[in-house]
């Protein structure tokens, strides 16, 4: 589902970041670990097709990232990648329902209210559909953002620091929700985190399709 070979990215300054090879099966979980600034974002951006590899190969959901073209890349990303950002970026101008409709608009799809209702129901926030993001609690907002991420049933879910600034209980709930959603969708889950609680969570809640870890860190040239 996700595999990399000698993947490297070159920053504008000429600094090169190399990543270890990895193979994640469909439905598997990948924990992307490393300190802040270690390159987790870069790896996520590569996986989402936002950056191109400087060296080596990367394939995500059956698509070679190296071969991805700009415009086609947008359409591919819309259908294949569900992204849960650390800051949720729910649009304050729109309702919860509108925020999900926007994802369909961004992907170039017709608005499908039934699909939106299903996605909200699956995450238990159906009754919040007409609220504005400002009226949601932190947990509710994350559920809405996750519903938006998986609205188009992507094969890969990328979560960027989903437990940052959460207390232990909320962090547990957040990870459980991600795992359950990925299992329901049959999606591969990638969690970028420097939070030890994530490791602990997956130790206690084993993944059927396997759990892998990729430690990201700048290597000396």
């Amino acid at each position: 589902m996700i595999s990399t070979r000698q993947l490297a990215y070159r920053y504008a300054g000429g600094v090169e970041l190399r990543f270890d090879d990895i193979d994640v099966a469909q439905g598997g979980v990948l924990l992307l670990q490393g300190a802040s600034g270690a390159g987790k974002s870069t790896w996520l951006a590569l996986a989402a097709g936002l950056l191109r590899p400087g060296d080596g190969d990367m394939a995500v959901a059956g698509q070679s990232i190296n071969a991805l073209r700009k415009v086609a890349g947008d359409a591919w990303r819309a259908r294949s990648i569900g992204f849960l950002p650390q800051k949720l970026h729910l649009s304050a101008a729109l309702t919860v329902h509108g925020n999900l409709a926007m994802a369909q608009w961004a992907a170039g799809d017709m608005q499908d209210d039934q699909r939106i209702a299903e996605a909200l129901s699956a995450l238990g926030v159906h009754d919040l559909a007409q609220r504005k993001p400002a009226q949601l609690s932190g947990g509710q907002a994350q559920r809405v953002a996750l519903a938006r991420a998986v609205l188009l049933q992507p094969k890969v879910i990328l979560a960027d620091e989903p437990t940052a600034s959460l207390d232990d209980e909320a962090a547990q709930a957040s990870l459980a929700l991600l795992q359950a959603t990925a299992i329901r969708q049959g999606a591969t889950l990638v969690i970028a985190t420097h939070d030890a609680r994530a490791t602990a969570f997956f130790a206690g809640n084993p993944c059927q399709k396997g759990l892998q870890r990729l430690r990201v860190g700048r290597k000396q040239l």
């Binding site: 974002s41 936002l50 800051k87 970026h89 304050a92």
Partner: protein, 400 residues
């Protein structure tokens, strides 16, 4: 949902900025609409009243005054001319028609004009009620005079000396209303028309003591001026010069004088136009600032749209569409406000018994209002839209 719906929501997510921009843009467009409508309507009123009048002959003085008083019934006349001179004009080979105009009295601020039936026919005026006059001391009222005074066919009234209300009343010589004209937008709407003889009769009856006086006065009869239609356009070259050099009269060509007048007024209109332009420019700048700060504020939101798969042009289109909404709303508000202002001016001019301008008109020139609105909106949205186009999704990952 469509782009237009999302952009609408985004626009009103900052209601204060949106309302301010809308107000500024609408004000600029309203001024432009107002200027367009007024100059269009005044031109139309001038054209209507001027139609077919090639030259005006009256007493020596300012030619523009002669035109304003004789054709548009706005200014006071330059003086009187002998009836004999006007009769002589009638037999001039280049003259097709002479319409004598005598003024000096008024009725409740409306001018009483002594003339011939040719004057009524010249403007194709139709009777709404009654008949045209058959003898002196009968009068036909213009539509607005009738409406404002409430006089009906068969009623009598007396004129007041002078063109303004409040002069000496000619009490012994009442006029009888024989007809009322249907409104036709020409100068006739605000006139009381009567045969030329009535005007002589009123003044002679007031001053003559005996038959001898009357005879003297009859010999010295005068009219105020004469509206003349040429037989051939070539007359325009020679006829005015002939009048101005060989007689004590003055000939003024309305077309020439109106062009002169409009070029004088034109400076004022240009100043107003420049003001409206400055308003629009300010509005454009304000829209630009609002959209620019919106892009700055929503950078990460816009990046998320890219993450969700929206191509750059779609994100930029969202911004552009916001500006288009503003342009559309401002066009509607601006045109409505401009029409309202024009109606207000029309109402004011009507109270002044001045040039008629209609309340509602949609001249073709009005198309420039939405075009301007569109231009200003698109121009001010261009840079923000470009900024939105360039938003990098990578920023989203780093906005921690």
């Amino acid at each position: 949902m469509k782009t237009i719906v999302f952009s609408w929501r985004y626009l009103w997510s900052r209601p204060l900025a949106a309302a301010l921009n809308l107000l500024l843009l609408s004000l600029g467009l309203a001024s432009i609409t107002f200027l367009l409508l007024v100059s269009h309507q005044i031109n139309q009123a001038f054209e209507r009243d001027l139609a077919g009048i090639d030259v005006v002959v009256g007493a020596k003085g300012s030619p523009m005054q002669l035109i304003l008083s004789g054709v548009f019934q706005l200014d006071v006349p330059t003086g009187n001319i002998p009836l004999a001179a006007v009769k002589a004009l009638q037999s001039h080979p280049q003259v097709a028609q002479v319409i004598p105009i005598s003024m000096g009295d008024s009725f409740r601020g409306f001018r009483i004009v002594g003339t011939t039936l040719d004057y009524v026919r010249h403007y194709d005026a139709q009777l709404a009620q009654g008949v045209l006059w058959k003898s002196s001391m009968q009068a036909v009222l213009g539509a607005r005079v009738a409406r404002q005074s409430g006089l009906k066919v068969g009623d009598t009234f007396t004129g007041t000396h002078g063109l303004a209300a409040g002069g000496h009343a000619h009490g012994q010589s009442p006029y009888t209303v024989t007809g009322i004209l249907a409104p036709n937008g020409s100068v006739l709407d605000r006139l009381v028309l009567t045969p030329t003889e009535s005007v002589w009769q009123v003044h002679e009856a007031d001053t003559a003591l005996d038959d001898e006086d009357r005879q003297v006065m009859a010999d010295e009869r005068e009219v105020t001026l004469a509206l003349i239609e040429y037989k051939t356009p070539l007359a325009a070259v020679t006829f005015p010069r002939f009048i101005n050099t060989t007689t004590d009269l003055q000939a003024a060509a309305p077309a020439l004088e109106i062009t002169r007048l409009l070029s004088l007024v034109g400076v004022g209109i240009d100043v107003l136009r420049a003001l409206a332009g400055v308003l629009l420019l300010t509005a454009g700048l304000s829209v630009f600032i609002a959209l620019w700060s919106a892009v700055r504020e929503r950078r990460a939101d816009l990046a998320l749209l890219r993450m969700l798969g929206a191509p750059p042009r779609k994100v930029a289109g969202l911004l552009l569409c916001e500006a288009l909404w503003l342009a559309m709303l401002a066009t509607v508000l601006g045109v409505l406000a401009g029409q309202g202002l024009t109606a207000l001016l029309a109402w004011g001019l009507q109270l002044e018994k001045s040039v008629l301008i209609g309340t509602l008109s949609w001249p073709v020139e009005l198309i420039s209002v939405p075009v301007l609105a569109l231009g200003v909106a698109v121009a001010s949205a261009l840079l923000p839209a470009w900024e939105a186009y360039r938003v990098s999704v990578f920023e989203l990952l780093q906005s921690r």
